[in-house]
Symmetry: C2
Amino acid sequence: MQDRLLELVGYNCRQVSTFMGAKFAKKMAKIGLRRMEFAVLMLVRENEQINQKRLAEVIQVAPSNLNLVLDRLESVGWLVRYRNPIDKRSQFVKLTLRGIRKCRSAEIAAIETENEITASLSASERSELVRLLRKVHLEARPRLEIN
Amino acid sequence: MQDRLLELVGYNCRQVSTFMGAKFAKKMAKIGLRRMEFAVLMLVRENEQINQKRLAEVIQVAPSNLNLVLDRLESVGWLVRYRNPIDKRSQFVKLTLRGIRKCRSAEIAAIETENEITASLSASERSELVRLLRKVHLEARPRLEIN
DNA sequence: TATTGTTATACTCTATAACTATA
DNA sequence: TATAGTTATAGAGTATAACAATA
C-alpha cells in the first residue's frame, strides 16, 4: 500500500505529527489557544528572561511569525514584553498571572492528548521514542543548545 | 530550557517533522514539487487503481484539499484521473510516464534527506524509531488499514 | 556594519460547508 | 438517502524581504 513511504522516518514522523496535531488543536481551541501559542506559553513560563530571538530559534518559527503570536498573547493579557535594559534592541517576555493559569490548563490538555495517543506504547517504548526523536533533532541542529 | 515540552512525544515529533520538512521542501522545490505532491505521487505509483477517497484517507488530507493537489499534478501532466467504469462516482488515478520519472527523482531526494537527518542513528535505532512511530499511528487510527 | 524586532506579503497546509452526479 | 468528488472560502503555519532602532 505505502511500503516505500513507510520506510521513511520523515513520512512517519509527519503522519504522527499531523494526526496528533489535529487532535491537540481541537483541545486547545476549547480553551482559546492555538498550538503555536501553547509552545510559546510553556517556553516563556520556564524561561523568565528569554528574548524573542532565542524563543524563535528554540521553537522553530521565523521571528516575524513569532512576533504575530506574541502580539495576540499580549493583547489578550497572557504575556507581557519589556525592554532589556542592558541591550535596548531586545525584548524579554514573561507570563502574566492569567497567562500562567492558561498555560497550566493547556499543559493538562497536552498531557491528556499525549496519553491518548501513546496508549499503545509501554513506558519504556514511550521513553525510547522520545529519546530517539531528541537524538535526531539534537544532532541535526548542533548549533542550537535546545536543552 | 524546555524540559516539560521535551517530555512530550507530540512536541518532539513536531519539532523533527518541522525541521525535516523544511529541509525536504527545499529539495523538492528544486525539482518542482511540494511535499504533499511527493506523497501523492509515491502512493499513486504503488497503487494502480486507488481512488481519491482512499488516497485522501491514507495520506491524511481532506478530499477537498487532495483534489487541488491532483488538479495541479494533472495539469502539469504527471498524473491522470479516469472514471471507475463499475462505479461512475469514483475516479482512479495513475501516473503518466513523466510522472513516474518525476516520482523517481523525488524519491532519491527524499532518501538523501532521510540519510542526512538520521545520520546520528545506528541502523537498529533508525528501524526502532520507525517501528515506534508506526505503532503509535496504527493504534491511533485503527479503522484505517494503512499497510 | 550587524543585530533585534517589526511590518508586509505570499505561499502552503488544513478545515468546513455546500454543491453535483452517481449509486 | 448515502457516497465520491468538486468548488469555495477561511484559518493556521511557514518563508522572505525590507525597514527602524539600537549596538
